[in-house]
């Protein structure tokens, strides 16, 4: 792997096999949908391959050579993913995705700790995955849901935070909005939540891939994230939790692996982190997730942030030039206030139509409600088109985006 200074997005792109071939229509692939899922570098694909070709075996209880090797690779991946966010391995639970991590907390912590009238505080910009589990928990426990408002530029309004926190047991909020790109001011919210006696869960699905994360200094009780948005495979994610809290929680899913001793009538549970991992784990994908964070750590989360900030600056400027043709950009327009997500609409053209036309030029973006229907509704948007950037993107992708938007404008005569 090259050193940072020698790296460029174009060099990085060479590590990703998907960019080596043109699209079905013969265009260069301008992949601008990493907020939905990222592409995977060769080292991650090869890690899967090597596991299945060379040492595929079930873990923890096998005493033969390939089982030992698989166990070591699996637990070493956990240690590396934990280190990536400055957590201890015992505090890092493998899940399927960010969504499952949030559900784990809503069930295991929520069912045991929430009572009628307790408050669950969310924000108005949450992804469905950090909203619906809390709605269902509120139904189960008769707890009350409250929301930190979002203003029309996409910023959280914290003026009434202390009132909102009154009676609150848990605050669950995104690190970064997947619609607006807004970087949520965690440092402003977490201490006040703690002061009010609430614990805090961060939906880090759009955080960990793009920003340096240090769970010790963040001091949130939980941080959920997902491999497939950070160069890893689909099917694995992780939930960080503070050790004492995890220890005090009852288990969630149960079955093989998470037990210590089982009798017909009752069971004692394994120690952390295995207490929360039931059945055969997603061994191969966890190992590959470890390789993905190694790749990211080698680039450096700081470098990644600077790289994306630069592209966002360029994209905001170029899209600004299209304002005259009716292009609207949503969310904070300051690259320091946003991650690498950019929502927009082209005049009265529906976002789906924009996306379909962009596709013909090899430009992949997302269109729709981005799993944040209530936010869309509040903002009064039927749908938005969303471009999102990652380590392999560069100014040339923004240029392709602009060119394709101009094509859409021509077709729709705007």
């Amino acid at each position: 792997m090259l050193h940072l200074t020698e790296r460029s997005a174009l060099g990085i792109r060479n590590d990703f096999p998907i960019f080596s071939k043109p699209t079905a229509r013969g265009k260069r692939l301008a992949y601008l949908d990493s907020a939905a899922t990222s592409q995977k570098p060769l080292c991650v694909i090869e890690a899967l391959d090597a596991y299945y070709r060379e040492y595929n075996a079930n873990i923890h209880r096998g005493v033969y050579g390939i089982a030992e090797r698989a166990t070591e690779a699996f637990e070493s991946a956990r240690a590396r993913v934990a280190r990536f966010i400055n957590a201890e391995p015992a505090e890092l639970i493998w899940t399927r995705n960010a969504t499952e991590g949030i559900n784990l907390v809503a069930y295991a912590w929520g069912n045991a700790n929430l009572r009628r009238g307790d408050v669950i505080l969310l924000t108005e910009l949450e992804h469905h995955s950090n909203l619906v589990p809390w709605q269902l928990l509120a139904q189960r426990t008769q707890a009350e849901l409250r929301f930190i408002p979002v203003d029309e530029r996409g910023f959280l309004v914290l003026d009434a935070l202390d009132r909102l926190l009154d009676g609150c047991k848990i605050v669950a909020l995104a690190h970064v909005s997947n619609v607006l790109g807004t970087i949520v001011p965690l440092d402003a919210v977490i201490p006040r939540a703690h002061a009010a006696g609430a614990i805090v869960l961060i939906d880090g699905a759009q955080g960990a891939p793009h920003f340096p994360v240090d769970v010790k200094s963040l001091d949130a009780e939980f941080y959920a994230f997902t491999a497939h948005k950070m160069l890893g495979p689909t099917g694995v994610g992780a939930l960080y939790g503070k050790r004492e809290l995890l220890e005090s929680m009852p288990p969630f899913l149960s079955g093989g692996d998470m037990i210590r001793s089982v009798e017909y009538s009752h069971t004692t549970f394994n120690e952390l982190p295995w207490k929360f991992e039931a059945g055969t784990s997603n061994i191969a994908d966890a190992i590959a997730f470890g390789v993905a964070v190694d790749y990211l750590a080698d680039l450096g989360p700081g470098w990644i942030r600077q790289h994306e900030r630069r592209i966002m600056g360029y994209a905001l400027a170029r899209l600004g030039e299209l304002e005259a043709r009716g292009l609207h950009v949503y969310g904070p327009k300051d690259p320091d206030a946003t991650g690498s997500v950019l929502s927009f609409n082209l005049a009265d053209v529906h976002a789906h139509d924009v996306a379909s036309i962009l596709d013909t030029e090899g430009v992949c973006i997302r269109a729709g409600h981005h799993c944040a229907m209530p936010l869309m509704h509040k903002m009064g948007w039927q749908a938005t088109a969303r471009a999102s950037f990652y380590v392999y993107n560069s100014e040339d992708d923004v240029d392709a985006l602009i060119g394709a938007i101009e094509k859409a404008a021509r077709i729709f005569k705007v």
């Binding site: 053209v349 729709g368 749908a383 094509k407």
Partner: protein, 130 residues
């Protein structure tokens, strides 16, 4: 997909036919596209022989769903409800031509789905049926 956005499609998108509401529709139905949450509503006036005499649709959506719905309203005017209930995908595809990807097919079929559910619901509710 860009083949799809031909002029007559865009014309139906920008100037949808039979768009709006009926005063006192005999039948109506509404549904949403699970892909994007776009909604379409269809209202019909059906005469006592079961013939579609008037139709309106409403809602906001992409060019594909809007144009497909607009063209569809034109083709079912004067059609017996029983035929409407049996319309196949082709009723839409014949209108809009080819070039719709599988995911966007849900957009194209939204109007048809709503229209058929209105027709089928009504037929099932008619006392003299069966």
């Amino acid at each position: 997909m860009d083949d799809f956005y031909r002029d007559y499609i865009l014309d139906h998108y920008r100037n949808p036919r039979n768009f709006g509401h009926l005063e006192a529709p005999t039948v109506s139905a509404e549904d949403l596209n699970p892909l994007c949450g776009d909604r379409i509503r269809v209202e019909l006036n059906v005469d006592d022989r079961g013939i579609v005499r008037d139709i309106r649709f409403s809602g906001k959506g992409c060019a594909i769903s809007q144009a497909s719905a607009s063209m569809l309203t034109e083709s079912v005017l004067g059609m017996p409800l029983e035929e409407v209930a049996k319309l196949s995908k082709d009723a839409v595809l014949d209108n809009v031509g080819i070039g719709i990807s599988p995911t966007r097919m849900k957009c194209a079929m939204l109007g048809l789905r709503v229209l058929k559910s209105a027709a089928i619901g009504t037929l099932a509710g008619w006392p003299d049926e069966e």
